[in-house]
Each structure stands twice: as structure tokens, then as C-alpha cells.
Symmetry: C2
Subunit: 136 residues, 2 copies
DNA sequence: CAGCATCCCGAGGGATACTG
DNA sequence: CAGTATCCCTCGGGATGCTG
């Protein structure tokens, strides 16, 4: 039985490196908050394969509003994950292309996405089980 | 120069496997939405190291409100990432422990967290550069 | 100790219309 | 085509107080 007696003292802040994260300027949160948006990962996934133009992305992700497409692309660009090239044609065309930083981010990120897809059934099953035990 | 002429036709939905995700029941989003919360990764990181009790987690993450601590823990438990064991002592004590599913999630997830920490300077630099070019 | 209930606010994000 | 500008509204999450 796990009890207070043979429980280790509360984890040391230095050692654990968690308590040291004050949320105001936590590096991990600062990066994560931007890619945790509703559309970020989807756009990163698309652009990880090949460059796309605005309208192409719009067609690729039909559910996104052009407002959020613009904003998400700008945020991703601001953080250095994608590049934006304007071709002064008429009408103008704009190409979005993933940077090296973006690719290096997407490498570990894609593993999480793959995990999510692969383990979705387990998660759904866990939810059903939880919900059943709750209404008891 | 990249132009419309020698540009590949718009990516095939089947091949790309993106357009096929209707957002309503996209597996990836369904999983991601829960771990994208403000506190989820922090609690997963803590519990990936060792089990903790409610109050211990509270002290580990001082910024979290007990409301969000309770709610986030319940959500993580519901999705099967952590277990909750109640010891009928007085006063009662509750232990949270990461499940195998949680550990298997945290494996790829921790890589992203490490990436975020390691590349935070690059991201910050990109932002500065972007903001400077914007006010021009 | 480990929660639950309530109130409340700001940000994320949708819908629509207009523009260079 | 590739955006910008408004309006609006949900809801994630903070603060506070109460309970078994």
C-alpha cells in the first residue's frame, strides 16, 4: 500500500524542473500555445508535404474560415515555421512553404499525431468505461 | 519560379488524407483537444515521473487553481491516461498514477516538449524578426 | 485533504461583408 | 486571388466560498 510514510518527500523543484516553470514565461507553454490552436497542426501537416497557396489550403481544409486560415498562417509564419512568398502576378498569388524550423518541429509533432490516430480507439474506449462507471 | 503552370494539381484528398478529416469526428483532434489544455502537459509531465497526490500536484504547480486541477485530472483520467486511487483514510487521500496508455502517449509527447524547450530561442528570434519587418 | 458549486471574464474562433 | 474589417458568441479557465 502506498501511504504517506514510505512516500518520497514532495518532489524537489530543482530536480523535477516543473515547479521552476512560472507560467508567465514558460518556454514550453510559449511554444505549445501557438501550435495548440484548432487549425495549426492541420496546416502544419499539409505544408509538411509540399508548399501550398492560400486557396489550395482553403480547399484542403474546407471547414476553416478564411479568417482563421489567414490568422493561423500568420501566427505560424511569425514563429518561423512557415515562409510566405508573394508572387506579383495579377491577380496576386501567395505561396506558403514550411521552413527548416517547421520541419524540425513537425518531426516530433507528427509522432504525436500518429499516436493520436493509432490510439483513438483506446481513448474512446476509456471514455465509455469512465462514463459508465460514473452514472453508477 | 513556382507558378501555376508547373504546379502539381491540388493535392488529392485521398492521398493527402487531410481533406478526409471532417472536423466533427477527426480522431487526431479528438485526442489532441484534451491534451492541448493549459495544464494537461504539465500534469502529464509530473505524473510521468511518479505518482502524486492531489495536494502534492497542487504544490508542484502553484499557479493552477484547484478547479482546473480537479477538472484536468478528471479529463486525463477519463481519456485513460491516469488512474485515480482513493485510500479510505481520514481524511481521505487520493493518488494519481499514470497508466500504460498515458506513458505511451507521453513518449512522443515528451519529444515535442523537449523540442519546444530547446528551440524556444529560435522561435523567439523569429518573432522579433517578424515583428520588426511588420512595422516597416 | 480533496474536492464541488457558482459567478464571471477575456480570448479563440465562427459568419458575413468589403477590397487591392 | 488573397486577404482585411466587424460583429458576435461560446467556453476555457480564474476567483471565491462551501463540504464530507
Amino acid at each position: 500500500m502506498i501511504r504517506n510514510a514510505n512516500r518520497k518527500p514532495v518532489i524537489d523543484a530543482k530536480e523535477c524542473d516543473i515547479s521552476g516553470w512560472d507560467m508567465e514565461n514558460c518556454p514550453v507553454r510559449d511554444v505549445l500555445d501557438r501550435i495548440a490552436g484548432k487549425w495549426s497542426t492541420l496546416l502544419l501537416e499539409a505544408l509538411s508535404r509540399q508548399p501550398f497557396r492560400f486557396g489550395e489550403l482553403r480547399r484542403l481544409v474546407p471547414d476553416i474560415s478564411q479568417r482563421m486560415l489567414t490568422q493561423t498562417l500568420r501566427d505560424l509564419q511569425r514563429d518561423g515555421y512557415i515562409d510566405r512568398k508573394v508572387f506579383p502576378t495579377k491577380p496576386p498569388s501567395v505561396e506558403y512553404r514550411m521552413t527548416e524550423l517547421g520541419h524540425s518541429l513537425f518531426e516530433p509533432l507528427s509522432k504525436v499525431l500518429q499516436w493520436a490516430e493509432a490510439n483513438h480507439p483506446s481513448v474512446k474506449a476509456a471514455r465509455v468505461k469512465y462514463d459508465e462507471s460514473e452514472l453508477a
